[in-house]
Symmetry: C2
Subunit: 584 residues, 2 copies
């Protein structure tokens, strides 16, 4: 929001009664409203754009844009901050060099760990950051009540309160079961959001036909779970925007945009998001810039791809008066780049301040300042002994359900295998890449341990574990043997959260995430170094996944088909109920 004095200053500057703070001359203005690309000079006052055609204005300071293209800062339309592993204070170093100036974030993870207090603690620095965070207000904490144990929750009252915050732009991704079962609590959240003029984000993973129609009838305005063009088109045809996602393990862009280009689909209701992307991949591959460039490679014209990353998103989230274009009154979030067909931010401005120069971040990171209790959220009641991971069975063999991973997708397939039973215990089958998978309750509440099997990790020895385990964020551990699995849990409690890789009793890699068991306040490069080392150690043990800790954090999800695993056991997602790990 802009207050009265700020508004008056801006108008005075626009009238030429007071000088601009800054004028960036000699740029080609990429105007996402008119579609024009024309020479301009961007005039800035108090961090806001006065006009992108400011050549007639006096300014206290003038910069030469060197003839480069001026583009509005990019918008990530759906992201979970914790997937970057980095506290918001340190994230600028990753985001700004990529031109991302706006994160529309659903902080449901911290809320699952620590409720409303955690939610507020995570956002303590929101006004000191050199990128914007707007909130997609977590609609389901816990995600699967009755099917999982969480550390905190957000009830209807909490959600309604947060929705009134000025940073709140939407009700965050509501999973379909809540709508299809017509549960009052969630439908009332939708009603509250709409009454406040906010949209409701969807999460229509895998839904088709009448279920998809019913979900749209629930008031959900978009979907970020489309895996191909046909799915995307089915959403558009039902009046839902499509937030095209390209994260660490969910890569949907190519299949969607190839169709868009081929069919000439209207792109006005398309935009980009990462959802979940690890910091090493943001650093190496990029962020929204990567998606824009890829879209252009696939045949979209640059203006269209840039609109998807800017104004389309701003309009969809009803904040086009604040961000999304280089227009009067909007925040002066600007990317300067030499090439419009392969955008590489050379300089980036946030609220009129130069934060990236020659591609390097030059801003000042605010000091993280989190409360002590947020560093103390892992309390094991069970799971520290190998016996806790044992799965007993009578007979020589057992027929069990397996979570069968899909490469590059968040969804999985429900398959069954026949496993050997030794000494009355079902054992993994490394030859067929079947590991044991467990979720250990970590809030000191009940000591639940859910156990099943998983295919796709490729591990030949040892075990890996994470205290990021959507959406309950208990400890999830996949292993070749019970001893290493137990040690993983012990080590995670010792770190108060993080990623761990153990083999034959030795810790081969660790990445501590002590803030709520989700985030680290170490600098980005240290986190990336730790992540690369633990990933390498995983590969040394035969691991085949590109981002194993991203994968393991998602495979337990009780809301993404076909199967999920929580501390309470195996979940049949479509049926939305617990089932036995044994095929009956």
């Amino acid at each position: 929001m802009i207050n009265l004095e700020e508004r008056k200053n801006l108008i005075k500057a626009a009238l030429g009664e007071v000088p601009l703070d800054l004028r960036i001359d000699h740029v080609q203005v990429v105007n996402v409203y008119s579609g024009s690309i024309e020479p301009g000079s961007i005039g800035i006052k108090d961090g806001r754009i006065v006009t992108p055609y400011a050549k007639d204005y006096q300014a206290d300071r003038v910069l030469d844009g060197g003839g480069s293209f001026a583009i509005p800062g990019f918008i990530d339309t759906h992201v979970h901050l914790d997937s970057t592993l980095v506290v918001p204070e340190n994230l600028s170093r990753l985001l700004l060099p990529r031109g991302t100036t706006v994160m529309l974030a659903d902080p449901m993870e911290i809320a699952n760990v620590a409720g409303l207090a955690g939610f507020k603690a995570l956002l303590g620095s929101i006004d000191k950051l050199d990128y914007h965070i707007f909130l997609e207000v977590s609609s389901r904490v816990p995600t699967a009540p009755g099917l999982e144990t969480t550390g905190g929750e957000l009830d209807l009252k909490d959600v309604c309160e947060i929705l009134t915050w000025p940073q709140a732009v939407s009700l965050g991704e509501l999973d379909p079961s809540k709508v299809l079962e017509m549960r009052d609590e969630y439908l009332l959240k939708v009603e509250a959001a709409q009454r406040l003029g906010k949209i409701c984000n969807g999460h229509a993973v895998g839904r088709i036909g009448k279920e998809l129609v019913a979900y749209a009838c629930g008031g959900l305005a978009d979907d970020h779970e489309c895996v191909d063009y046909q799915e995307a088109l089915s959403r558009l045809n039902l009046g839902m925007a499509v937030l095209i996602r390209e994260g660490s393990t969910e890569r949907n862009l190519d299949l969607i945009l190839e169709g868009v280009v081929r069919e000439g689909t209207y792109s006005q209701h398309l935009m980009f998001c990462t959802d979940d992307k690890h910091p090493d991949e943001i650093l190496e591959e990029g962020h929204i810039d990567f998606m824009v460039n890829r879209a252009i490679d696939l045949g979209l014209i640059p203006m269209q791809a840039i609109q998807m990353a800017t104004i389309n998103a701003a309009k969809h989230f009803r904040i086009e008066h604040l961000i999304g274009s280089l227009s009067p009154g909007r925040w002066a979030d600007i990317i300067l780049t030499d090439d419009l067909r392969q955008i590489k931010p050379d300089r980036v401005f946030f609220k009129g301040k130069l934060v990236v120069d020659k591609g390097d971040y030059i801003g000042e990171l605010p000091q993280p300042d989190y409360p002590d209790w947020l560093f103390n959220t892992v309390k094991l009641t069970k799971g520290n002994h190998s016996i806790d991971y044992e799965l007993e069975h009578n007979g020589d063999h057992a027929q069990v359900w397996v979570i069968d991973l899909f490469p590059d997708q968040i969804i999985n397939t429900k398959t069954q295998v026949r496993l050997e039973v030794k000494n009355g215990l079902v054992v993994p089958d490394l030859e067929r890449d079947i590991l044991k998978l467990a979720v250990v309750e970590r809030y000191g509440k009940n000591g639940n341990v859910g156990i099943t099997f998983v295919k796709g990790f490729g591990l030949q020895e040892g075990a890996l574990a994470s205290s990021i385990a959507h959406d309950h964020h208990n400890i999830i551990v996949a292993g070749t043997n019970d001893e290493d699995m137990a040690q993983c849990a012990v080590e995670i409690e010792r770190m108060q959260g993080g990623f761990i890789l153990v083999s034959r009793g030795q810790v081969l890699g660790r990445l501590p995430l002590p803030i709520g068991g989700l985030l680290s306040q170490e600098p980005v490069d240290i986190i990336i170094d730790q992540l690369e080392k633990i990933n390498q150690a995983y590969r040394n043990l035969g691991g085949t996944l590109p981002a194993p800790f991203m994968t393991i954090s998602f495979i337990g999800l009780p809301t993404v088909p076909d199967l999920g695993l929580t501390d309470q056991g195996l979940v049949d997602v479509f049926a939305h109920r617990l089932i036995s790990s044994f095929v009956s």
Copy 2:
């Protein structure tokens, strides 16, 4: 808003658990989200669309669409209800056959006459109508405080209250002087609207350069006053949407869209409005349908023109979850038409109910029910005698300012002429088409009479007058002689408002508008008949304007350049102050 029970019913219908109320089979669905036009069946429950691809659904009733195109109902993005002269209850008969199902209305006229109470009285039937009225909340009642006398006003508190109503979609057209002078009251209204997630409508008539930039910095999201492509482009380039207007006297569509087609300008931020259009012209020429068809004639593809009339508008006003597309959960406002290049609504549905069949309105009009006091708003203190219209001057001639009309535009030119003085009184010059123009205060407050001269009416004898006189709605009268002018005022008081034409003491035509002096509750055909007769009588006296009573109602506007006239006298619009009618 949709409440919990309605939402559940809709979801049940979507899941197929209960039958649809209606299925319209065998249509080509014009999908404004994806841009596709494909065969479909529109499924409807409780007045809302379940899905436009409903062939697999059971329904209580099935209609054959006969292969016609199904289009979302059209949206008029800026309209003053009183310009139709018809009470909202009777307007359906004009709008629905033209496919207009949504009026985004700024009821500033009734507020100027009767304040918040008048505002509420006008909207008494809003839930009984078979079209939607959403509110652009009048930002300036009075428009020109200190320069005009009005019957009522809306202060900051009133405006903030109305903005919270569920029907309120925006702050209504704020005129530039308020912003450029940085007046707290109006900037606080902008802030209030934005805080509530609503947009602010602009009214940037004639503004260019730094003033336009300053206006955009004021938070105004659009402009409906563009007269040509260059103006429209200048707004788009500053991040303002353009509401292309085609009213009775302001005809901007061709000049704007010819440019859009020629330059390939992005049309995502373009939409349509009528602003002010008399009922006879809506009947003969059309409404938004006329603009869509004209846009297609000018070279836009039909989908693009239809998007401008539907989804673009809905998104701009942030009500795309309610209207603007044939998508799940939206109101079932549907046009069926055989030809997409020349749209002629054959059947029209409002909230799923057939209200137009074979082009004819078949709905049921609600009974108007207005309070008695609203029929009693014209109280003359002065202006009933010819002496009240005399303009004294010493000497043989006087140099006076003239409001020189522009054909088909709302703006006028400030020119000066030398007029003869007879018996100490300045007299009109019929040879040069210079009539006397007066505004008579009609709220019984002070008996002010403002006098100047006007060029462009073509009248050779008599006088015409109207109690619709933007935005103060005093009595405005243009005449060849003072006696007929006085009689006009007397007749208008007798009717308690309306249009009147008098010559040589005889009333040659009248159209009573007794509700606030603005509206008639007579049926549309009677009003149109009266309007046609009075227009014909005007032409019989030499009149040359196509819609003289629309013109006269606007030429006094103290906010549209160059000159205005109020009960307090002649207004220099750019200087925003009263000036003498004599050139000094």
